[in-house]
């Protein structure tokens, strides 16, 4: 039995059998062949290429159906490389001239590709190294006659243990049998985390050398709520977690019944519960779970899915899709928040020493005005299709906000000159996720229509903790009195200036904080849609008066320990089954 602590990136608990994905490179020895074997080796290579192409075409088609055309497009690059004469010719000539095996020739040529990519100054291209490794694995498996361990056709339930999940692995996996993920590396916004949340299965990342300690067939508990993985649990733990799983199911059923009931306190205060999404397709699930709208629509997937920067039309189509699915409900579109940990530091020439404090998010947009304008044009054009709101992320000074709004004005004028239809009066808001913005909320509130507090970054910047760094992740705590003071002041500043305030960080979806946020006067909560039910249940079970008392008490504490302890006690009184 072994307990490993990582970062929970998708909630839920599962007990299941492990499938460990072979992450280590296949060791390919340099083996020589006889001259008369040359043709046979070339044929083996050709067959493997053909087979890989068939697999990839199938995969692309399947993924396009299951997710979207953008994600299916990831494989265009793979297919392009497979068809590339720069791959075919050097491999054949290595087999012919150096008399080496097909697998060795493939490995050498693709390693050369990989190092070419790695040397690229463009971060986007440098990141494609992972795709090259993916391609290498696929061809080698086919050359050697090994079927790539197919997660698409499982006959039993399992959890996937890997160093990091490759895009092709996650896209192909069988949604009915995969019950959870646990990986050695990764963070909140890693590919694994995004896919797990989209599938609604628990995931824990950043577990160090988990793959070395687990063998396929081991029993594994993945606790995505607490960020814990237990390898070969003992009987007590099994009983405890089975019990927990069983309770969860009961709760799920109860929460389902809540779906169509309003989020209103016992004393009649209506709260708006909204959802955070990555892809337009997620709207349906969010609405089905009772979301009153989308409080945070991240637009980064457009940049992640294609090899080149998305065009204005790409943006527009995605927004139009989301709005259609929302059927009149509000959609808060966050402008590009790329940089730091997000997928790629697009167009970056020199790696930043400190990307979290660097050229990310709104800062990057203000340095790339043509790109920023493309996004804004697409958003403004979409305003005639539904209830669109724009939100600027990572604002740290008034000048930034004013600049961003000025550029938005330019875009409005351009659209007007071109005679394109749009709505002028849409709400423009900002995220509060930097302490400087929180401290100056009063000044900011006069220049925007709404605030949305991004607690993840606000906690990170206030406490100076990178929670993807396992050595200090324990210090990351939204209950820290310094963070709570900022939260309280931002909500107050919003109310005083009559603008709406929401929380769209993870804190909004954690039942532990619902009473507190309610008591601080928050009226809009935006969260991952699976969390809506529980938060709604708490809201419906309490009064605003009681929540205010809780908040007053919490604000009198001077340590996060006291805060957490008290909130746990109070929440347990309302929903004992969750804690």
């Amino acid at each position: 039995m072994e307990i490993k602590k990582g970062i929970g990136v998708s909630p839920g608990v599962v007990i299941s059998t492990a499938i460990v994905l072979d992450a280590e490179d296949l060791a390919i020895p340099r083996r020589h062949i006889e001259p008369q074997q040359v043709d046979q080796e070339i044929k083996r290579f050709q067959d493997a290429l053909d087979k890989s192409l068939v697999e990839l075409n199938d995969l692309r088609a399947a993924v396009t159906v299951k997710y979207s055309k953008e994600i299916g497009g990831i494989f265009d690059f793979h297919i392009g490389i497979l068809k590339d004469p720069s791959l075919f010719e050097p491999v054949v000539s290595a087999i012919r001239n150096q008399k080496v095996t097909a697998e060795y020739a493939v490995s050498v040529v693709l390693r050369r590709f990989a190092s070419n990519f790695q040397a690229m100054s463009d971060r986007y291209l440098a990141d494609r190294v992972k795709d090259i490794y993916d391609i290498e694995r696929r061809i080698l498996h086919n050359v050697i006659g090994l079927k790539q361990e197919s997660l698409g056709q499982l006959t039993y339930d399992a959890v996937v243990i890997a160093r990091d999940l490759l895009p092709s692995q996650t896209a192909a996996l069988d949604r009915t049998h995969i019950k959870g993920f646990a990986t050695d590396v990764g963070g909140r916004t890693s590919h694994t985390a995004i896919v797990a949340r989209a599938l609604g299965i628990p995931a824990v990342v950043g577990l160090g050398n988990l793959t070395a300690e687990v063998s396929s067939g081991d029993t594994i508990i993945i606790d995505g709520n607490r960020g814990v993985v237990i390898i070969n649990p003992d009987d007590d733990q099994l009983v405890e977690h089975r019990e927990y799983e069983r309770k969860r199911e009961a709760i799920e059923i109860e929460l389902k019944e809540l779906q169509n009931l309003p989020a209103v306190t016992k004393d009649g205060h209506v709260i708006s519960l909204q959802a955070n999404i990555e892809f337009p397709e997620e709207v349906n699930d969010a609405v089905a779970r009772g979301a009153a709208g989308i409080g945070l629509y991240r637009t980064e997937f457009l940049y992640m899915a294609s090899a080149s920067e998305p065009t204005e039309e790409d943006h527009y189509r995605a927004h139009a899709d989301a709005l259609k699915r929302l059927d009149g409900r509000p959609l808060v579109i966050r402008t590009l928040d790329l940089g730091a940990d997000k997928y790629t530091q697009a167009k970056q020439v020199v790696p930043e020493r400190n990307p979290f404090l660097g050229d990310r998010s709104i800062r990057m947009c203000l340095h790339n005005i043509p790109m920023f304008k493309r996004q804004l044009r697409a958003i403004m054009r979409a305003t005639v299709l539904g209830d669109v709101r724009i939100m600027f992320p990572m604002i740290s000074t008034l000048m930034e906000l004013r600049q961003a709004k000025m550029i938005l004005n330019d875009v409005v004028e351009e659209l007007e000159d071109e005679g394109l239809p749009f709505r002028r009066d849409i709400p423009v808001g900002m995220m509060i996720e930097v302490p400087s913005a929180a401290l100056m909320a009063n000044q900011f509130a006069r220049e925007v229509n709404f605030f949305s507090i991004g607690t993840n970054d606000l906690v990170q910047y206030t406490l100076a903790v990178d929670r993807t760094n396992e050595k200090v992740a324990g210090l990351f705590c939204p209950a820290h009195p310094a963070v709570l003071t900022l939260l309280r002041d931002v909500i107050r500043a919003g109310h005083r200036n009559s603008i709406s305030v929401s929380v769209c960080g993870e804190m909004a979806g954690e039942p532990l904080y619902t009473l507190l946020l309610l008591g601080l006067g928050l009226t809009i909560f935006s969260m991952n849609s699976p969390d809506i039910g529980e938060v709604k249940k708490i809201i419906r079970s309490t009064t605003l008066e009681h929540a205010r008392q809780v908040a007053r008490r919490v604000m009198s504490f001077d340590s996060e320990r006291q805060v957490l302890h008290f909130l746990r006690e109070e929440t347990r009184k309302i929903i004992p089954e969750v804690f």
Binding site: G80, P85, S86, N116
Partner: protein
């Protein structure tokens, strides 16, 4: 990717370089070589073709590149 797909529809050999005076030429039918060319926005490209349908290849590919410029 679109460029390479299109180039592959012609029989002629397609070469692309960046007019930078460097002797770097990419095979227009190779994703890998085209990527290594690292043509960022604003780079001048020269497309040459050799073979039976050379003229059509150059015209079509140049048209594609021009249509990208039109996007901005």
């Amino acid at each position: 990717m679109q460029f390479v797909d299109l180039a592959n529809r012609f029989q002629s050999q397609v070469r692309v370089d960046t007019c930078s005076g460097e002797p770097v030429q990419a095979d227009g039918k190779s994703v890998m070589q085209m990527i290594m060319l690292v043509a960022i926005e604003g780079t001048k490209l020269r497309i040459t073709a050799e073979g039976g349908d050379a003229q059509a290849a150059v015209d079509t590919l140049a048209g594609l590149v021009e249509s990208w410029l039109g996007d901005d």
